[in-house]
Amino acid sequence: MGLDQTDIKRMISCAADRMAEKTGYLGDIDSHFGDGDHGLTIGRIAALMKERAAAWDEGDIAGFLDDLGTGIMEIRGGSAGPLYGTMVAGLGADLGENETDLDTEAVRRMFSGCLSEMKDLTTARVGDKTMMDALIPAVEAARTAQGGAGQIFEAAAEAAEAGAESTKNFVSKFGRARNYGDRTIGTPDAGAVSTALFFRGLSDGARSAK
């Protein structure tokens, strides 16, 4: 019940598809209290994910995720590049160089490594109305989920979606939106929504894993 290179490749590609489908919506919700460019940036990130996944022939999983993350960090468009780059690279941060077949323990390490890298970068936590509102519950769900890789990613996706939905109730504490205070209640955080799409896509791709 593990993941190999073919699975990771498919998962990244599926995640890119999910994100690319919703760029219009992401731009729209970001325009309320942000620059309105989140959809554009997510579109660029998705395109790079798709391209790198397709071009990935050989090499270890950790190296691929690290290279992809570094590439995403350089995508122009504000905070989303560095944050997404760190999240994607973080999925491989706690994997060994020679790990080509990830068992459920290794899959859980993908999530814990990702969270630890993100916590190094941002002080945002649940309730601050950022992508961490989707990421932290996803990691928590992955830690306790039963079953194989497919079930772990499905649990993470569901938790990320619930977390993104919950941001409607929060006041923005980070980024430009924080200056709008209570007025941000009612609108979900664009970064949390796109993060939920990312995990939903990973789960789509993991479902058919062996």
């Binding site: 460019d37 350089e74 995508i75 122009r76 504000g78 905070s79 560095p82 944050l83 430009r176």
Partner: protein
């Protein structure tokens, strides 16, 4: 408000404006890879060097201050958006002449993320870099919560003072200490009467009413409170001077730098009126203006409004401010 700007394809804006800047000032600067603007004299520098980063759309900031005596390399992102950490790391390595690099970052969410990721790599690779953050907008946080204060026009005099300290041959630690001393004793307040449109998306970045002004607006029209009916230049200056003096804690008998920075669509006439009023009010408080600038250093497209900047000065800081520099938009 429909956007009326002389642009070409929005996605090429940053690239084209950097080309234009480098062409217009080819004696002082050149374009590098990854949206860098580089001091032409960097190759011969045997001193601490200065690297900064930030979004475009704020011209002449930040790249207009690359040149001798100020910034050695600016790394530009996209319109209002930070560059990535790899580009900044590459710039730091290119700038490093064996004496270390001072890396100046403005406190904005994206810039801080990039700054932190860059410093992570800097440490991993054992490079000699000190990061200094400029965060002086007094509108949205108290002085004790400086990490929540945004970086406004204060980065520009910080570049000048750090650049001059580096030119004097001071060590990286000394240059950083001077830059921090200056930055810790500065404060900015912004006022706007009309917001700008985002040049790439056409989105209006504010919704101020016809007869309103807002004191405490950030760099990109982020709202910081303080909406009120439009006041005269003298009245506005008085509110702002008092808030700034109070924030820094400047006492009678002290010396200051005063900058009136036009945000893009406020005329030099208005800026001069405000400057005049500010000098008079400071004089009444027995505070002497020993350094100044009136004009556009850091703009936000066609935002109507200005930033008032105040900093406590000492003899060393004043000498460094007055030292020679040659950049496209500041020459001394």
């Amino acid at each position: 408000m429909k956007m009326k700007k002389f642009i070409n394809a929005p996605e090429n804006l940053t690239d084209e404006l950097l080309d234009g800047l480098a062409l217009a000032h080819s004696d002082l600067i050149e374009r590098g890879d990854e949206n860098m603007i580089i001091n032409k004299k960097l190759a011969d520098a045997d001193r601490v060097t200065i690297v900064t980063q930030g979004g475009a759309g704020h011209e002449p900031a930040i790249s207009g201050f690359v040149g001798d005596g100020m910034v050695d390399i600016s790394v530009v992102g996209d319109i209002f958006a930070a560059p990535g950490p790899q580009a900044c790391l590459d710039a730091i390595k290119l700038a490093d002449k064996g004496r270390g690099v001072l890396y100046i970052v403005l406190n904005h969410a994206g810039d801080m993320l990039t700054g932190n990721l860059t410093m992570k790599q800097v440490k991993k690779q054992g490079l000699d870099v000190i990061k200094v953050v400029t965060q002086e907008d007094i509108a949205n946080a108290s002085r004790s919560n400086a990490e929540d204060r945004r970086g406004l026009v204060g980065c520009i005099p910080t570049y000048k003072i750090a650049g001059a300290a580096a030119a004097e041959g001071k060590s990286l630690e000394e240059v950083a200490e001077i830059a921090r001393r200056f930055a810790d004793n500065m404060a900015t307040l912004a006022v706007a009467v009309r917001g700008a449109t985002h040049p790439s998306t056409g989105a209006l970045l504010s919704d101020l009413g016809e007869d309103e002004m807002e004191i405490g607006m950030g760099q990109h029209g982020e709202e910081g409170g303080g909406r009120q009916p439009l006041k005269t230049a003298d009245e506005t200056a008085e509110i702002m001077v008092k808030a700034l003096v109070n924030d820094i804690g400047i006492k009678p008998g002290e010396k200051v730098m005063l900058i009136i920075n036009g945000s893009g669509a406020t005329t030099l006439m208005e800026q001069l009126l405000v400057y005049r009023a500010a000098v008079r009010i400071l004089k009444e408080m027995d505070i002497e203006v020993v350094a100044n600038y009136v004009g556009e250093l850091l703009t936000v497209q066609e935002t109507a409004g200005f930033q008032m900047f105040l900093a406590r000065m000492d003899d060393e800081l004043l000498r460094l401010w007055d030292a020679p520099c040659e950049t496209p938009y500041m020459k001394k």
